[in-house]
């Protein structure tokens, strides 16, 4: 039971990270590899807000989301927009976002140094519950709730709102969207801002959950985030959530039943098998959209 919950909570962090990742990836078909850098930056900025600024954790999270959104706008403006006219814009954007990620990490190193940082011990109430013999912290419950809420909210936003329709139109065909009177640049920028805000929230929560923030934390989760969105199905928000949970559970049960040394092998092996059986991913549509 404890392991099941461990898996769910671990997975919900993967999911939160992947949801932001897949928003840009799935809707704009752009792979934004600066996303992990935003994840790390948010953790460090969040810690500074709480320790130096004396901001409460409940205020720090929306603030971090706002800073993340700003970073998203910068990423779009600097790494993607100048390249959008190129025939290889997708690939060029991927490379330029790696470059930007390197710059963000270098700035963090300059600002905060190489040391691991932490939220102060009393930043988040250390309440624990006993659920069927397993221990759960309030923080873990909050993370799970935030992940599900954001996933539901985003799905609704993409499917039902005017902005969501505009996003999908841009994804379908940017030129046609322009003809229909949609401001493609604005929609693209909004999507980036949303995506990075989610990545930022994930970063801050992750740092709290494991009681440490390192410069390499984004790089460590990047691979898992990519795996999660591919398994979940490209651009599928529920897919990212379910994929994240699956990966978390797979890791935890690999530890329990097979051995801790085999964790990554088993977890990624399972995801790989799943892809062989269902190449389009769990929630991916079979039809390949030609853009």
């Amino acid at each position: 039971m404890q392991q099941l919950l461990n898996g769910v909570f671990l997975g919900s962090i993967y999911a939160l990270f992947a949801i932001g990742f897949t928003l840009v990836f799935g809707i704009l078909d752009r792979l934004n590899l600066a996303h992990p850098a935003v994840f790390a930056a948010a953790a460090f900025i969040g810690i500074e807000l709480v320790t130096l600024g004396g901001v409460s954790i409940w205020l720090a999270i929306p603030l971090v989301a706002g800073i993340g959104a700003l970073l998203g706008l910068v990423i779009e403006r600097v790494a993607f927009r100048p390249l959008r006219g190129r025939p290889d814009a997708h690939f060029a954007g991927l490379i330029s976002s790696i470059g930007l990620a390197g710059m963000i990490i270098a700035l963090l190193l300059w600002r905060y140094g190489p040391d691991t940082r932490r939220f102060p011990a009393d930043a988040f109430p250390a309440t624990t519950f006993e659920v069927a013999g397993a221990r759960v912290t309030l923080l873990q419950v909050a993370i799970l709730a935030i992940s599900i809420l954001l996933m539901v909210g985003l799905t609704w936003l993409v499917a039902r709102t005017r902005l969501g329709r505009a996003m999908r139109a841009v994804a379908e065909n940017p030129r046609a969207a322009t003809v229909l009177g949609i401001d493609v640049d604005r929609v693209t920028a909004t999507t980036f801002a949303l995506s990075s805000a989610l990545g930022a929230v994930a970063g801050a929560l992750f740092a709290m959950n494991v009681n440490s923030a390192q410069l390499g934390m984004g790089a460590a989760i990047e691979l898992k985030g990519l795996a999660v969105i591919i398994v979940g199905g490209m651009g599928s928000l529920p897919g990212a959530l379910v994929g994240g949970l699956l990966l978390g559970l797979a890791e935890v049960f690999a530890v329990q039943y097979i051995g801790s040394s085999w964790r990554d092998l088993v977890a990624f092996g399972m995801l790989f098998l799943l892809l062989v059986v269902r190449p389009q991913g769990l929630f991916g549509s079979r039809r390949v959209r030609e853009v």
């Binding site: 078909d29 190489p114 040391d115 011990a121 390192q214 490209m234 959209r289």
Partner: protein, 400 residues
Amino acid sequence: MNRSTVTALAVSSALALALTACGGEDGGDAGGDAGGGATGGEAGGLTGTGTGEDCTIEEPVPVGAALSLTGAAASYGESQQKGLELAAAELAEVGGVTYDLVIEDDQTDPRQGITVFEQLTEDSSVVIGPTLSNGAFQAQPIAQEAGVPVLAISNTAAGITAQGDYIFRVSLTEAQVIPQTVAKATEAYGLEDVVVMYSNDDAFTESGYEVFSSALEEEGVTVSETLTFSKADTDFRALLTEAKAAEPDALVVSGLIEAAIPLVTQARELGIDVPIIGGNGFNNPKLMADGGDAAEGVVVGAAWNSSSEGELNTAFIEAFEAEHGAQPDQFAAQAYTGLKVIDAAVRAGCSGEREDIKAGLAGIADVDTVLGTLSINAERDAEHEAVVQVVENGSFTVLD
């Protein structure tokens, strides 16, 4: 571009990430040939007159230090720098022999360590460092080949001094400290079975694990489960749940401080209240500063007893606090000792020449230091008593 191309890109970049993660860590050349009498530098000025305390050497003796001032081991390197600078300042006041201390940063990168060693061995009579054993294995052969004595001040892995006859160390090895820790903890807590956890992708923690497991066997303690993790891991809840299910008398962990803090906090959070016995990586005041209450009951063997009442030790702590406004840690104490031991070696032959320092280091016996009475044995390793500490009320106290 259609979607499958994007997928392929994503998969390939994921693969690239996986590949870079696996890189690095190739063994490096084991030992070089002894460099012969390649005493470089401007001879003459470095040999002095008199012996021991009266020794007077005209020119300052050049001492190089390769420390990790940035990167993952920066917290250790900074302490070492403070310890060395304090020792250099004190030695300058003694007079007779002065030291020209040059500290370079290896960025916690073995490749950078090689570059730094190449640079330092050109001018220095003796080189201190590097901070981590990983880097030492790669960099030391350069000094060995150039015939420059090296004094390791923090490396605890086995085989450091086996690289050549110019390599010495003042730090106790894990193999010296851990058996004493395990014996003491077994006695104090009546351990019968334990769970062992270690990161299996780091040379230092892996060698620590091997020493732990043989020491546990020696004490007749059963290991009910062995769990491995990666040095980059921060979420240990799955492993700790496994550990908890085994209901051990203690957790035995070989990991670096970066892993130690989240591991200890998460263990307490899951309700594991047994003692946690750590390797040298746990021997860091940060554990209490960042781990808070969770650090209570962590047992660590150490080379330096911070609460020792010895005259040298209290004077060192006082001077360090006055200079830096903070308590020294073991890394600072060992670095401080390192330069003092070099001074003893220089004064023994009253010469700052490389060959004479080498002979002096080999002859170090029963020197009073802040670490206790220290000798260098035939394997060029230091010998002195270790101390077993437990965290109580937020600070290390001697376990008995």
